[in-house]
Symmetry: C2
Subunit: 219 residues, 2 copies
């Protein structure tokens, strides 16, 4: 085993002789491909976008369940685990929404690099913000999914009573009511939950990932 | 299968009847324990702290390599993938260093929750910042590792020439020279790279994780 250095990739000085051990020493980072081979899957960011109540989270959680049951490591980033943690110091102004999505994109990129199939479930209303998230990930690593339900559909569901509050002016800058939603122009996938059940949408999504080769490691 | 709702955990309205399919529908998030069972390991944040040149990154990358070769999914968060991405809008002022570490702690928490063994390799000089990262993760989820090399040792290595530049005043707020380093008072592990090779340090670290049960799923 050759002699090696602290902070060795740039280094010039040896700290100590290597010892013979049962743990193999290697230079450099494990590659993403090596992690994907270990997992038997391909890391990808599945970016769900759509109005509040369109079904993003329900579909994401169901897809995560189906994938994990099938032996694929997946993880959902959503308001529950991001807004109260990483982005707890951000509000809902346009600038803060942009920074919110920027950070989520960067974290999703890290998960994708780790080999995980990561679902992001956020309204993410601005096209430019989503396009930036796409741009920081490689081709094929970013699957934009429009969870398509009309405002009328979402408002008629109004599961959390948010639309009623927004109409009453109790929630400022509410997407679809008092703040804009810009749908994607060329999403990889559209899940129409106006007419299709969330089960069918989840199956459509998992089918897309299967066909795209994400449920196996790259050859 | 019972009828179910969009945004169903809070919901009251049905969108559509369930369909009979070969993908099983489930309510609610996959739990961390289910992901850990899939991976055969326990998610944990291994937080390496120490001066520039102490050996943090070299040890983290080597440990990642050893773990992945042993079939354990691990991932390194370091300056390369965080400072140029998620934290590219932060500098090196005390406030920005604190926000830097806060975000890294939150991301490490997400990785830990996903079941991954995540190494963070940052100087992380302030005790209070590290303690906050510890506080947001549960007991046992945060393993603080002091990569212990004296300033003299690190400065004599000076692999990247940073100490020389810092002494010349070309790098402001350089930890150990013109900015403080506060070592942990009760770290889970100390790796003394003054006297011990990085190989031995990596083995000590992997041995700690093995003894701690992190390399298997919780029963």
């Amino acid at each position: 085993m050759k002699r090696r250095t602290i902070e060795g990739r740039e280094g010039a000085e040896d700290l100590a002789e290597s010892k013979s051990t049962n743990i193999t020493w290697h230079e450099g980072h494990i590659t993403r491909v090596e992690r994907e081979a270990l997992l038997g899957q391909t890391g990808v960011c599945v970016w769900l976008t759509g109005l509040s109540g369109s079904g993003k989270s329900t579909i994401a959680v169901a897809a995560e369940h189906a994938l994990v049951e099938g032996g694929r490591l997946s993880y959902v980033l959503d308001g529950d685990n991001v807004r109260h943690g990483l982005n707890s110091n951000l509000g809902f102004s346009p600038d803060d929404r942009t920074e919110n999505i920027r950070r989520i994109g960067e974290v999703a990129k890290l998960f994708t690099d780790s080999g995980v199939i990561v679902f992001t479930s956020f309204i993410s209303p601005y096209r430019a913000d989503r396009d930036k998230a796409r741009a920081i990930m490689g081709d094929g690593d970013f699957v934009e999914v429009l969870v398509d339900a009309s405002l009328e559909t979402c408002e008629s569901r109004d599961v959390k009573g948010l639309y009623q509050k927004a109409r009453a002016g109790e929630i400022p800058e509410f997407t679809g009511i008092s703040a804009p939603y810009e749908p994607p122009e060329n999403p990889e996938l559209v899940l129409d939950t106006n007419t299709q059940s969330v089960e069918a949408s989840m199956e459509q999504l998992v089918g897309y990932l299967e066909k795209g080769g994400y449920l196996g490691a790259k050859a």
